[in-house]
Amino acid sequence: MFDISPTEWTAILLSLRVASIATLVATPLGIAVAWLLARRDFWGKAAVDAAIHLPLVLPPVVTGYLLLLTLGRRGLVGEWLADHLGIVFAFRWTGAALACGVMSFPLLVRPIRLSIEAVDRRLEQAASTLGAAPWRVFTSVTLPLALPGVLAGMVLGFAKAIGEFGATITFVSNIPGETQTISSAIYALISTPNGDAAALRLVIVSVLIAMSALIASEWFARRATRRLHGN
C-alpha cells in the first residue's frame, strides 16, 4: 500500500515546488497590499479589496480561464510576453505557480492585514519621534510585530497552493512532470482502472500537508497576540 510510484513522487515534488514558488513570490506583494489596506485610505479602496478576494468566490475554473485569456500563449499579455521576453506561463509549471499564487493570494493577505491593523499606531508615532523615516518604521516596528501574522498567512497560502485544482487544470492542464500536481494526479488516477490505491496514497499526503499547515498557521496566530504584549 505504501510504496509510492515515481509518477506519484513526481506529482508530490512538483506540488511542493509550485506551491513554494507561488508563496515566496506572492508574500512581498501580499505584505505591501495588506499594509495599504490596513494603513491607507484611497479612492477605489473597496474595489481593490473586493478584487483581491475574487479568487475566493469565483469558480476556480473561471479564474483559470481568465488567466488563459490574458496570459495564455495567444492571450492579451501572454502573446507579448512570449514573443518579446520568451516568458511562457500556459501549460508550464510557472503557470501552475501563477494559478496557485492567484488563488491563494486572498488567504495570504487576510492574516497579514489583520496583524498589521493590530499593531498599535501609537508605537509607530513614537518611532517617528525617535527619528525613524516611514519606511524604517515599517521594517523596525510594524513588520516585526506583524511577523506572526505574516507567517500565518504564508503557511495558509502555501496549503491552499498545494491543494489548488480548478484554476490550475484549466490554465496549465495535466502534463505529468510539468504541471501534474497532487490534485491533478488524483483526478487522473480516479479515472484510471486500478488507480484507486495510488489515488488514496496521494489523498493521505494531501491531507497531512493541509493539516500541518493549518495547525502551524493557528500556532503563529496565537504567537501574534503574545508578542504584542511584550512577552
Binding site: D120, R122, L123, Q125, A126, A127, S128, T129, L130, G131, A132, A133, P134, R136, V137, S140, V141, P144, L145, R227, L228, H229, G230, N231
Partner: protein
C-alpha cells in the same frame, strides 16, 4: 563668577520655540500663539483643553489648519507656504503618557533605537550618563512587558534622550502612575531639567508638578492661551 559661567552655559541651551497655530478639534477651535525661551515650558490646562494636540503639532504628528511653528529659528510648519517638516526629521523627542516602549525589543534595544534611526555613532559614555541619571542600568536585558510603570517611564525618558533631540516634549508623563510612583519619578525629572541640558515642553493638568519643574507657564483653556508668564501665574490654580 562660577555662577555666571554656569548660567552662560545654560543660556546656550535655551531654545526659542515660536508657535502660532489654529486647528479645529471636534467642536472647539484651538488657537495658540506664544514664544517660549525657558528651560522647561509648562503647558497647563484641564483635560480637553487641547494640550496634547498642541504638542503633537510641535512634534509634527499633527498638522495645523493654519499657522506656523518654528524651533530655534528653523521653520517646521508654515501653512502659508505649505511647509511641513515630517516628525522624523525634527529632532524633537517625545515622552508619552502611555510610555510606548517597543514590546518586541528589550530595554537596551529600546534605548538604542533613536541613535540607530538617526545614524548617530555609538557613545558608551553618553549612554552610561543617561542610564545613571535615570537609574535604569540594571534593566537593560529585560523586556518592557514585565516592568513597572515607573521603570517604563524612566526607560521612555532615556530612550528619548539618547536620540539627542534639541527639544523634549513630555505629555503628562506622570499621568499613568500612582502617587507613589509619581513621587519616585519627579526627582528624576528635576535632575533631567538641571543636568541633561535639553529644553523641555511639559504638559500637565497638575499645578503642583509644574510648580516644581517649570520655568515658564503657558495656560490653555478651551483651546486658547489665557495666561503666559512665570511659575507664579499658577498660584491661583489648583
Amino acid at each position: 563668577m562660577v555662577r555666571a559661567a554656569r548660567d552662560a552655559t545654560l543660556a546656550r541651551k535655551l531654545i526659542m520655540l515660536r508657535v502660532d497655530v489654529s486647528k479645529q478639534l471636534g467642536d472647539f477651535k484651538l488657537e495658540a500663539a506664544f514664544e517660549s525661551e525657558g528651560r522647561v515650558t509648562g503647558l497647563f490646562g484641564s483635560s480637553g483643553a487641547g494640550k496634547t494636540s498642541l504638542i503633537n503639532m510641535i512634534a509634527g504628528l499633527l498638522r495645523p489648519d493654519r499657522g506656523s511653528i518654528a524651533v530655534d529659528g528653523e521653520v517646521l510648519d508654515d501653512t502659508a507656504s505649505r511647509l511641513h517638516v515630517p516628525a522624523h526629521r525634527r529632532r524633537i523627542g517625545y515622552v508619552f503618557q502611555d510610555f510606548r516602549l517597543f514590546p518586541h525589543l528589550d530595554v537596551g534595544e529600546n534605548l538604542d533605537y533613536g541613535r540607530r534611526m538617526n545614524g548617530l555613532t555609538e557613545d558608551a559614555a553618553r549612554r552610561k550618563r543617561v542610564t545613571d541619571l535615570l537609574d535604569i542600568g540594571g534593566l537593560l536585558d529585560r523586556r518592557p512587558g514585565k516592568l513597572s510603570g515607573g521603570e517604563r517611564q524612566r526607560i521612555a525618558l532615556g530612550r528619548a534622550l539618547l536620540a539627542q533631540p534639541r527639544l523634549l516634549l513630555l505629555d503628562e508623563p506622570l499621568g499613568s502612575l500612582d502617587e507613589e510612583r509619581k513621587e519616585e519619578i519627579l526627582p528624576y525629572l528635576v535632575r533631567l531639567r538641571d543636568e541633561a541640558g535639553i529644553p523641555m515642553v511639559y504638559v500637565s493638568h497638575d499645578a503642583a508638578e509644574l510648580r516644581q519643574l517649570a520655568t515658564q507657564i503657558v495656560m490653555l483653556k478651551r483651546g486658547h492661551v489665557t495666561v503666559f508668564g512665570g511659575v507664579k501665574v499658577l498660584s491661583g490654580a489648583q
